[in-house]
Structure formats: C-alpha cells, structure tokens
Assembly symmetry: C2
Homo-oligomer: 218 residues x 2
C-alpha cells in the first residue's frame, strides 16, 4: 500500500520506518521540500521511502497519517489540501499538547472538542480515524515492548475506515481483539484527554514502555 | 476508625456501607438533617452508621471522604467548614461532570485545574488525596468484580496521607502494589480527565465492571 505521512517528527519517522519494513511504500511529507529530517530518512529508507511536501505525501498515499502535533494539525493538513485527502482513510495519531513557560502541559482543544473532530470538520470527505495517540511511538510499532495483553482504541465515523486501521494495526503487531472501537469521532476527545494521565504514568515509571490493559467482567 | 462522608448519593452510601461492614463507624452527611437517603441508610446500617449534616459528618470523622459531585464539591465542603477538616485526610472521590441539554458530557474544571486542587486550595489545612474516582462505586469496594490485576491511583501533596489512603484501600480489597502514586494534587487533573474515556468504555462494554490495568516493561 502507498502511505503518505504528514509530519517528520519522531512519530512520523517511526511509523514510516515500520511501514517500509512491512513492504509498504511511504512518502514522508514536510512543510518544505528541503526538510533535513525527511531527506535523511528517505536517504536511508531504500527504494520504498520518499520525501516530499505535505501535498505530495497526501497525494501519494492511498492512506494518509497525520503525525504532526495536534496544535498545528489542521493547519498542516490545509497545506496538504482537501482534494488529495478526499475519500481516503486519514489516521490522526496526534495530541494537542500545549507547553506553558512554567513547564505545565495542557491540551487545546479539550473537553468539548478534539483534534480528531477538528480534522473531520475541516475535511468532511476524509475518513478520519483517531488511533495510536495513546502510546509512545516505539510501542505503536512494537507492542511487544510492553509485556502481556494491552489495548489500543479507535474512534471515527466510518466503520470500514476503522476496520482498515485495525487491519493495519494487526500488521504492526496488535492482535485484532486488542483494538477497542470507542465509537464516532467525538470519542477522540476521550483518547486525547488520556494524555495528562499518560504523562503522569511516564513520570511514575521513568520510561514510556507502558500501556493500558482494559480488564472487564463477563 | 471514625469516617465522615460528605454526600449521600450512590457513591457515598456504597462507601459508607463497606466501611461499616469493615468495623468502622460512619456518619453520612447531607445538606439537611432530614435527608431521606441518609436517614434510610443509617436506619439499616446498625449501631455504627449515623446520619447528620455535612458539618456533623466532617466533625465526626477522623478521616473524611468527599462523595458529592465534583461540580458542587467545594460548596458542599464549605458547609462542612474548614475547622473540622483541618489536619485530616480528606479523600476526594469526585468527578466534575457537566451534562448538557443535548446529553453531552464534559468536565468543569478541566485541563489546567481539577476538583482535587480546588479543594486543596480552599482548605489548605486538609490533607487532600484524590482517589477512587476512576472506577464505578461497586468496583471501589469490591475490586474482585473485575477479573485479574488492575489499578487505582492516588494524587496528593502529603505522602503520609496517601499512605493512609492506600492502607484503607487495602481493607477494601485493593492489593498494596495495585495503587499507583501519580504525585502531588495537580495529578488530580489527569485522573478526572479519565472520565470521558471511562464513559466511552462503559458504552463499549455495556456495563461498569471494568478497570485499567497498567502494563509496564521492566
């Protein structure tokens, strides 16, 4: 499959590397064609890894992943353009973290809105699925870093799009039953609002190789 | 131990019943002395269960539990009064849920503040510990309703107060290693912000007998 990734940070490059290793073809998209991180990544990725602009990555992908920060996600996707996103599954892995001068972390949007919903409103023809924003990038593509059974979550308005994402997550190593469907895209709020808890747990453990296992009766 | 419980709703009555069954003496406090729920609870609770005002419950308890809704918690505790809370462990189990006319649920405060912090600011002499707000009331006092190992969390500024709460949770059936300390009272934000996720999971499972098990490497 051809995948376009919007964003060249740690999350974007980790997902890009995993996808290429699985035999997919990836364009890692950045704001400018001369982005050093994207060029360096493509250089070492082999023939199935390319770099390009946001618009080139979006046009390239049969599936598109937003891996920018949540606070700039809509702006970045506007640069990609609505036309190349129309009809495609668009996985939003972002969290809208805002860092205060005092080191406090908060979310914006939060509570009554989410980045997932902002993206779906801005690009109504895209089939937005919120996923993967609840774990560290290394765990995203290697769930075995965390022992035992643990879970991911998807939220989105299009059931077939969610099924496509669950299938891709299975390629990443996530067993099919491990991905819980929390409903339509408004559930992205609840997934983004896990971030403060995740940060406190990272402080507790001193590392990011952890995840949530949801235990349920019956 | 003598425990004062502020709030006569389902959570307050469930905690009160469990505490009495463990041999503690409880005053269930309500806004007015003639609260039907509190009177009925005390009637069936036997000699170790009493009803009274918020102020009477706070004065009675060596330990006090806020079991009101988070949106009215500070107001209810003002009626209890600062003096009877001074120096005592005050467990805040509340969530500040706001229900819109359209059935949407949000939190207030959220993100940059929490009920736990509001209470600690308003009653600086109280030793506030956020705990138990992450599970259904029945699971609070009977963790075996959920299979396997799963976790609770505490947040507060006073390490000895948190240790007292962990010891009480052990009486409720929570193994000591199952309660993770997430830090000072500002971590109450992260615990209260789990509520939207909890509600989506309840929708997914169709019941409330579930909980988070945190899986960590190393």
């Amino acid at each position: 499959m051809r995948v376009g990734i919007i964003g060249t940070g740690n999350v974007g490059r980790t997902l890009a590397g995993k996808l290429v290793s699985l035999g997919h073809e990836v364009t890692l998209g950045s704001r400018s064609k001369e982005n050093a991180a994207a060029l360096a990544w493509a250089e070492q990725a082999g023939p199935y890894g390319h770099s390009g602009t946001f618009a080139e990555a979006a046009a390239f992908g049969e599936l598109v992943i937003n891996a920018t920060s949540g606070v700039v996600a809509v702006q970045a996707l506007r640069l990609a353009g609505a036309e190349p996103l129309a009809g495609k599954v668009l996985i939003d892995v972002s969290n809208p973290l805002v860092f205060s001068p005092l080191g406090e972390v908060s979310l914006e949007p939060v509570n009554t809105d989410s980045v997932g919903e902002q993206i779906q409103r801005e690009f109504p023809e895209a089939r937005v699925v919120k996923a993967l924003n609840t774990v560290n990038s290394e765990v995203m593509v290697d769930p075995g870093r965390v022992p035992g059974e643990h879970n991911l979550f998807v939220a989105g308005n299009d059931p077939e799009a969610k099924a496509d994402v669950v299938a891709l997550l299975a390629e990443f190593g996530w067993p099919q039953g491990s991905v819980l469907d929390l409903g339509d895209i408004t559930a992205a709020r609840s997934l983004e609002m896990l971030m403060p808890f995740w940060l406190k747990l990272m402080g507790h453990f001193g590392h990011a190789d952890f995840n949530y296992s949801i235990r349920s009766a019956g």
